[in-house]
Symmetry: C2
Subunit: 223 residues, 2 copies
C-alpha cells in the first residue's frame, strides 16, 4: 500500500481510535480531527481523542462547531435524560440522530484536509452502523466520497477501512494494533463511567465479547 | 410546479438574492440561511442578506462557522490587502478559493433543513461559476445532491435554478422579480462601497450591462 498524507476523523470512541492506529500503521497521518458539536458526551470523548493522538505523536485538532448545534434537532444535543436506553433497533433511537452529521463532519474535514495538503480522509464507518442513520450507510458514504473527490483540487479520497467489518472485528484489530481501549469513550450519556445500558454501551460490551478480548471499560452498576 | 417547503442559501450577493425571490415566488420558503465564516466581506453581505429576507417576511438565520475558518487556507479569510484584482481567469484567483466551501455550506444547510422540516434546498450556482473553484462545478453539485438525498430522511433535494444561466440572465430575472439590487453586496474586499476592480465587482458590473438594466451599485472612484 502506498503511504499517503492522511487526515483521520477521530471522535475518541472505540472505532475511530482503532482507525487512527490503523491509519498510523499504513499511511502518514498528518492530523486527527475531532468535532465539538456540544453533544452530551463531547467532553469525555474529546479527552480520549486527544490522548489517542498524543500517544502516537499525531497533531490533534478540535474544530468547534457548537454554534451549528443550536440549529440541529436531536436528543444527543439536549440532555442526558433524553437519551433512550436500549438497542438501536428501536424506533426510539431515531431521537439520537443528528441530522446529516456525517455529511457535515466529512465536508469540514475535506476543507481542512485540502488546506493542510492531505490526499485522503479516513472515517471509521462500519457494517454495524445503523440503518436508522441514513448518513452512516455505505450508499451515502460512496456518494459523499464522489462529491468530495469532485469538489477538491486534490481529488481527496475517503477511506472506510472498516466498512465491511463488525464492531467486534474492529475491537480485535485494535487489540492487535495495541490500542488502549481504556482510553476510549462511547457512552451517549456522558457520565464519568459508561452507563452500560444505552445503545452505544450495549454495542461496546458486545464488541469485546465478540472479539474475545477483555473489556477494560468501567460501567455503572446495574440498578 | 408543486410548492415545497424550502430552505435557501442566501449570501446577500446578487445571485442568491435573486434565488431567494425566485424561491419565494415558486415555493414555500421556510428559512433563508447565511453563513458567517469570518470572510472580509461578511459584515456587509450579511446585512444585505438580512434585508432581503425581511423584505419578503422570511425567517433569516445566520450560522456562525467562523471557528472553522482558522483551519481553512484562503486569501478571502485573511485581509482585504490579499485579495487580488482582476478577472477570474487568472491563476492568482486560486488564492481566493475557500477549500470545499460549497460542500461545507450545503452539508450544514442540509442538517438545518432536515431539522426544520424542509424538503429541498435552493443554491444560486450558475453557469459562470468558475472552473478554478471545483466545488462550484455542476458535476460536483450533482454528486453532492445525490449524497444529501441519500444521507437525509426527507431525501432532500437541491435545486440549482440558475445552473444553465449567466449572471446577466440572473440579473434580468431579478429585475422582473422586483429585487432591489442596491441592497445586495458582492465585493470581496468588504469596503463601504464596492471596490469595482476585484473579480466579483467586475462580474457584477458586467451582469448589469449584459442584462441591459441600470446598475445601482456605488463603486469606488477609479484611481
Amino acid at each position: 500500500m502506498d503511504k499517503m498524507e492522511t487526515a483521520v476523523l477521530l471522535s475518541g470512541g472505540l472505532d475511530s481510535s482503532v482507525a487512527l492506529h490503523w491509519a498510523h500503521r499504513n499511511h502518514r497521518v498528518r492530523v486527527a480531527l475531532s468535532f465539538d458539536y456540544a453533544s452530551n458526551h463531547a467532553e469525555r470523548e474529546l479527552k480520549c481523542a486527544a490522548w489517542q493522538a498524543a500517544s502516537l505523536g499525531i497533531e490533534h485538532r478540535v474544530i468547534d462547531i457548537s454554534s451549528i448545534s443550536s440549529h440541529l434537532k436531536s436528543a444527543l444535543l439536549s440532555g442526558a435524560d433524553d437519551i433512550p436506553d436500549g438497542s438501536y433497533d428501536e424506533e426510539l433511537m431515531k431521537q439520537t440522530v443528528v441530522p446529516f452529521r456525517n455529511g457535515i463532519f466529512l465536508s469540514i474535514a475535506a476543507g481542512v484536509a485540502e488546506s493542510c495538503g492531505a490526499q485522503q480522509l479516513v472515517i471509521a464507518a462500519h457494517s454495524g452502523d445503523h440503518s436508522i442513520y441514513p448518513d452512516c450507510r455505505e450508499e451515502f458514504m460512496a456518494a459523499m466520497t464522489e462529491a468530495i473527490r469532485l469538489g477538491t483540487y486534490a481529488g481527496l479520497g475517503i477511506l472506510r477501512p472498516f466498512i465491511h467489518m463488525s464492531k467486534g472485528g474492529i475491537a480485535a484489530m485494535g487489540q492487535d494494533l495495541g490500542v488502549d481501549f481504556s482510553r476510549t469513550y462511547s457512552c451517549y450519556k456522558g457520565g464519568a463511567v459508561h452507563c452500560g445500558v444505552c445503545s452505544t454501551c450495549m454495542e461496546r460490551r458486545e464488541a469485546f465479547r465478540e472479539a474475545g478480548i477483555p473489556d477494560p471499560t468501567a460501567y455503572a452498576p446495574a440498578e
